[in-house]
């Protein structure tokens, strides 16, 4: 797993989501490790803008040829936007998981919840520990 990409400027959940802060909005996606474990992603069922999320509550479903994966929200808050490109190109999660393959944007999240997330080093240690 030495070639798994873990950008240093992101926060991570133990469930293999990443979080990037853009102003007062948090962009959320799946990590490189997660997309590699899933294999070819074929379908993504996203929430609707306005849906309320709770930290570690169900956020969306990502389906690969191999498996269906429930994705849990790394933060509580309200869905601000979803990546509708994934409807036609779910494979963006495989090809560019930290960029064009983002899943949702969440607003109105409690800042304190960010402390529950891991930094890149802690996430790397989590992967190394299996």
């Amino acid at each position: 797993m030495s070639d798994t990409k873990i950008p240093g400027d992101l926060k991570y959940s133990p469930e293999h989501e990443w979080v990037r802060l853009e102003g007062d909005v948090a962009v959320i996606g799946l990590t490189d490790y997660a997309q590699d474990q899933l294999g070819d992603v074929t379908f993504v069922e996203l929430p609707e803008p306005g849906d309320e999320m709770s930290q570690m509550g169900e956020m969306c479903v990502v389906e690969s040829v191999k498996v269906a994966a429930d994705v849990y929200s790394p933060l509580s808050g309200v869905i601000d936007d979803v990546n509708s490109d994934l409807e036609d190109q779910p494979e963006l999660i495989n090809s560019d998981c930290y960029g064009q393959g983002w899943l949702v944007k969440i607003k109105d999240f409690p800042a304190a919840e960010l402390d529950n997330l891991l930094d890149a080093t802690a996430y790397e240690n989590l992967l190394a520990g299996g």
Partner: protein, 393 residues
């Protein structure tokens, strides 16, 4: 303990994502992924390690008549150099496995069973066949490869120039590799019109595989793992034991089972004959006492995932459930040639009430969604060397 095929090291050093399957360590896919492997098979070709399949050598005087009592197809209709599909059923007409029987010589057969059923079928045959019929489990001595797709025949012709290769479906020939006899049959589990399965001793397997993989690469043929093996068979509508075939479902509920059941007059009795005769009768006259449901192919009409276990409703009531399902890629065709464009659709096999007919709209309940779908007869038709996806209206 999980077993390793002779190609374990090759798979690991060539990007194979290894998983445990039927007690064996095999790649689910290589680095290009299941979708690319599926598409490569349809356009160029695919090379599979299927050494997890069980292989039993059965021979001796009266081997044919002994097998004829144990199997649903009639081995006496074979001849050396031919093979056929067969079921192994119980007295109630429920399947214990589906299998391929190859006649190698007079009084000598090779039975290929599903990896997951190897021990079960071995002991069932031990109990069913008379003691004077010799059985030998070759699974861990004789490896099994599959080479499928439009370029597969050309690759074999390059590897064995001038040698006699099987031409007709279900034919079997023998060639040599590094001094060892290798059996090649025109069979497969992808739905490809051109495809071969290859039996090679473990010792000669890695060098033969290497030759097929490197010469095949120039033709676009790629190694393919278990993931695309499953999507390819599903797209072709082929059943898999444990999904479509189940120990508590009548065998002839699966359409392909009819290829593997011989109920000809004059054939001596065999295990399951009475029950299978009842099922066959109901298949023809529409009665539903022994055969209430059948396996049919379905396609989702909206973008969605569907998988085995999802309940199916039609005309306002539950009519069955999916036995397999997935999103499957395909090439767009122009005439009989594939273009460079692809698309995907959700395809399933479903165990449905006999009232349900081809063309009927259904609703598939997968997770929290209700997905509109339609029952289809097949996704493919054979055009030239390619499998052409049938247009769905």
């Amino acid at each position: 303990m999980t077993r390793k095929t002779p190609l374990f090291d090759w798979h690991q050093t060539n990007g194979g994502k290894m998983i445990d399957y039927a007690g064996w360590r095999l790649p689910i896919n290589y680095s290009s992924g299941i979708i690319a492997e599926h598409l490569a098979c349809r356009k160029f070709g695919a090379l599979f390690d299927i050494s997890h399949m069980g292989r039993f050598l059965i021979r001796g005087w009266y081997a044919a008549s002994a097998l004829s009592r144990a199997l649903t197809n009639d081995p006496t209709r074979l001849q050396p150099g031919k093979c056929h599909y067969t079921l192994i059923a119980d007295e109630a007409g429920f399947p214990l496995d589906d299998a391929f029987l190859y006649q190698l010589h007079v009084n000598e057969y090779l039975l290929v069973v599903n990896g997951a059923n190897r021990e079960k079928i071995w002991s069932w045959l031990q109990d069913s066949l008379p003691a004077f019929v010799q059985m030998q489990d070759l699974t861990e001595q004789l490896a099994m490869l599959s080479l499928q797709g439009p370029c597969s025949e050309r690759l074999l012709q390059e590897v064995w120039p001038g040698e006699q290769l099987p031409v007709r479906r279900n034919a079997l020939t023998s060639v040599f590799w590094e001094g060892a006899e290798v059996l090649v049959s025109a069979t497969g589990y992808t739905g490809e019109p051109l495809g071969f399965e290859i039996f090679v001793p473990n010792e000669q397997c890695p060098s033969l595989w290497q030759e097929l993989a490197s010469t095949g690469r120039e033709m676009g043929i790629v190694p393919v793992g278990l993931g695309a093996r499953d999507t390819l068979r599903l797209e072709a509508g082929y059943p898999l034991y444990g999904h479509e075939y189940q120990a508590d479902r009548p065998a002839l509920a699966v359409p392909q089972a009819a290829w593997g059941v011989s109920l000809q007059r004059g054939r001596p009795d065999f295990v399951g004959r009475r029950a299978l005769t009842e099922q066959m009768k109901e298949l023809k006259n529409g009665a539903r006492e022994h055969l209430p449901k059948r396996v049919m192919m379905v396609v989702a009409l909206t973008p969605a995932m569907i998988r085995g276990g999802a309940k199916v409703r039609a005309a306002g009531r539950e009519v069955g459930e999916l036995t397999s399902g997935n999103i499957i890629p395909a090439w767009r065709f122009k005439g009989s040639k594939p273009t460079d464009e692809t698309y995907k659709r959700a395809v399933g096999l479903a165990y449905l009430d006999r009232e349900v007919s081809v063309g009927q709209r259904i609703e598939i309940a997968y997770r929290k969604r209700r997905i509109e779908g339609i029952v289809v007869s097949s996704l493919m038709e054979n055009a030239g060397g390619y499998l052409v996806p049938r247009q769905l209206n």
